[in-house]
């Protein structure tokens, strides 16, 4: 049925004819229609990657097909979300090998964006854990691919934003855990210099992420908290936790009621940050054992918090810079705080090495921050893009709603090969999204002008 849809940033909003399916043969029939489509998971990418005039929602294609509890292998249909997967695997002593900062994404989305977690430097990105998957191609054929079998299809599907076809079933490996708790360490850093050092000092930790307070200037520029974690062992638990070491967290959630002006959310996040920073006796370091939920998914406790950015929506700007480009990080953070438009918090992680065709992660520092959509924003981000490129970095397609095709090209060295593989498996661009058209991945270059005009119109509304 035709309806208005948007992804997590609420920008852009488009009208789409969204089709659902529960069974593989229903999907085959849909794809056989003489139309173009893009697969859509839970709409947790931020921009226009899973938006198109015709979308195929995978959310009802969510069955678990097999679970090898000895080897830790799970076989699922691509529309199952991570929260459902956790409910199944955690009580059996297994965990997701890689998880992003929300559990409300599908396995299909995890592969198509090749998502990363706080453990990228240790465990790599999600695709690293995919044993094999079936992909339905534009010609109606379903092909099983893996790192060793139909490798070109596999590598272009991981991080390929749905442009090779629709991912059907997937087998991936899990991580063995003794308990469902996390041994957490939070360390405060006075400034950027210190937080980058701390990342080095604690490089052996499986999970690490930092929250940076973007409001601080001069000697406190980059004031931040490093959050580290390891899966807790039985002996780390208190008696209450020990009584059921693999327990699932209690389901408690509040829903963000409606769109609010963005300062409300910012005030809230700053308060939350200051609470963490100044709370608990000003100690430099806090150690505790917590359930996996607040550790991995702090934001999921408030459903629809994205409404906090109001009706115009927001952009999450996420880039990665090589390790030696610390100056770039400083430049960009400075510009954002000078401009006074960013969210007050930014998230910083370190990526380990990753060789891939089109996935975002590559060794370096990755920074993400939310910026409400308003007049002049896109011009400003175009300037930031140039800095990112100057320092040899790139942007994350899964967060993107506005980058120019040249920026993608300059940031991704294997783009031509990626395009060639799309051409092979999706020759008539049956699978295409607003994003792929905008980035000229599924469009002849000269027709691009129309789209750019459209986004100008959208921008003029603010």
């Amino acid at each position: 049925m035709k309806k208005q849809i948007a992804n997590w940033g609420n920008y852009p909003v488009i009208e789409s004819d969204e089709k659902l399916f529960s069974y593989t043969d229903e999907l085959d029939k849909l794809v056989a229609q003489p139309k173009s489509y893009i697969a859509r998971g839970n709409g947790r990418c931020y921009g226009d990657a899973s938006l198109a005039d015709n979308t195929i929602s995978t959310l009802k294609y969510d069955k678990v097909l097999s679970f090898d509890t000895e080897k830790g292998l799970l076989e699922v249909q691509s529309g199952i979300t991570l929260d459902q997967v956790l409910d199944i695997i955690v009580p059996k002593g297994w965990f997701l090998p890689v998880t992003p900062g929300t559990k409300y994404i599908t396995i299909g989305g995890a592969i198509a964006s090749d998502v990363h977690g706080k453990n990228h430097h240790v465990d790599g990105a999600f695709s690293h854990h995919v044993i094999e998957m079936d992909v339905l191609l534009a010609n109606g054929e379903t092909i099983t691919c893996s790192p060793t079998n139909n490798n070109d299809l596999f590598e272009a599907t991981c991080g390929g934003m749905g442009l090779t076809g629709v991912i059907e079933k997937v087998i991936f490996d899990l991580k063995k855990i003794e308990t469902s708790f996390i041994k957490q360490k939070q360390v405060k850093a006075e400034n950027l210099e210190e937080i980058l050092q701390l990342f080095d000092t604690y490089a052996h930790y499986t999970y690490s992420v930092a929250w940076i307070d973007c409001l601080k200037k001069r000697k406190n520029f980059g004031r931040s908290i490093l959050i580290l974690g390891e899966h807790a062992k039985i002996e780390d638990l208190n008696d209450k936790q020990k009584s059921d070491p693999l327990q699932l967290p209690k389901k408690k959630q509040i829903t963000f009621p409606f769109n609010l002006p963005s300062w409300v959310l910012n005030t809230f996040t700053v308060k939350a940050f200051n609470f963490l920073y100044y709370g608990k006796n000003f100690k430099k370091e806090i150690n505790n054992v917590v359930s996996y939920e607040p550790f991995f998914y702090p934001l999921d406790a408030i459903l629809h918090w994205n409404r906090g950015y109001g009706k115009p929506g927001f952009i999450q700007y996420q880039f990665v810079l090589p390790l030696e480009a610390k100056q770039g990080l400083i430049d960009i953070l400075n510009r954002i705080s000078d401009k006074g438009i960013g969210s007050f918090l930014a998230v910083l992680k370190v990526f380990g090495k990753q060789e891939s065709l089109i996935s975002f992660p590559t060794e370096g520092y990755t920074l993400a921050l939310d910026i409400p959509v308003r007049k002049g924003l896109f011009e400003f981000l175009d300037e930031l893009d140039q800095i990112v490129l100057k320092y040899g970095g790139r942007l994350y397609m899964s967060k993107d709603a506005r980058m120019k095709p040249e920026v993608l090209k300059a940031g991704y060295p294997h783009l031509d090969r990626f395009k060639a593989i799309i051409k092979k498996f999706n020759p008539d661009f049956k699978f295409r999204s607003h994003q792929s058209d905008r980035l000229l991945l599924t469009k002849d270059e000269d027709k691009s002008k129309v789209k750019i005009q459209n986004s100008k119109i959208a921008e003029a509304q603010f």
Binding site: S22, Y23, K63
Partner: protein, 243 residues
């Protein structure tokens, strides 16, 4: 461990009901005409809830097969839930007797055929529960649901009668009257959000009704009152309405 039989197990509402009963430890028997579609549902339920789950071929329109279908169930279910149903475009049905006939037969005749069999078994056992998924569309005849509504009306009357007939045998019958539900059946219809239930809400209500031995339930609850109003519009006025 009690067992529940789901008739029309490939439907969205049935999948949700199976999950709800599975989560409460019931063994599950899934019956549908397309058993290939049942196999992922079966593995899913087994893995999620660590319960037994079996798959059975069943066609509501193949009345002659119903007795042998029920006899061949490896374990007799404690609860039998009739979920299958079809809703064709009334305009198409108006122009094609075959469709009209099939809509009546699926929603009413097929349901009576199989539930009579379950009912006889339960009354002999002096225990058991039958649930029928009817619809608010059966509460009052109107043009936009001419055939579907009348077939569901017949089914609702059957369920009420069955409840009355089996009471003395300690067999309970639940009539479920959903309003709008987001499923395959209604995928292309623009449904009003506040009045439309998710299949999971219907499933919870059904489970609760079975446990608490409720007679008739509406999902969402406001449909009870909406239908009360609709039923009370005087016929001279109602017949002129475009409804």
């Amino acid at each position: 461990m009690p067992t529940v039989l789901l008739l029309g197990a490939t439907s969205d509402i049935s999948v949700a009901i199976a999950k709800e009963f599975g989560a409460h430890g019931y063994a599950l028997q899934l019956a549908a005409r397309n058993t290939e579609h049942l196999s992922p549902i079966q593995s899913d339920l087994k893995i999620r809830y660590n319960v037994d789950c079996t798959v059975h071929a069943f066609d509501a329109l193949n009345y002659d097969s119903h007795q042998s279908f029920f006899d061949s169930l490896p374990v007799k279910p404690d609860v039998t839930i009739c979920v299958f149903g079809v809703m064709y475009e009334e305009e198409d049905a108006w122009n094609d007797w075959k469709l009209t006939h099939r809509m009546i037969d699926t929603n009413y005749t097929g349901a009576v055929s199989i539930l009579n069999i379950a009912a006889k078994y339960y009354s002999a056992q002096k225990k058991g529960t039958i649930v029928g998924i009817s619809s608010v569309a059966g509460e009052r005849g109107r043009q936009s649901k001419l055939i579907y509504g009348s077939a569901k009306a017949a089914f609702s009357a059957y369920l009420a009668g069955l409840r009355n007939k089996l009471f003395k045998d300690n067999v309970h019958v639940v009539s479920v009257k959903p309003g709008f539900v987001y499923t395959k059946m209604t995928e292309e219809l623009p449904l009003p959000k506040p009045l439309t239930a998710q299949p999971e809400e219907v499933a919870k209500a059904v489970f609760n009704a079975v446990e608490k031995k409720k007679n008739t339930i509406y999902t969402k609850w406001m449909w009870k009152y909406i239908m009360l109003i609709i039923k009370n519009v005087p016929e001279p006025m109602f017949k002129k309405m475009n409804i």
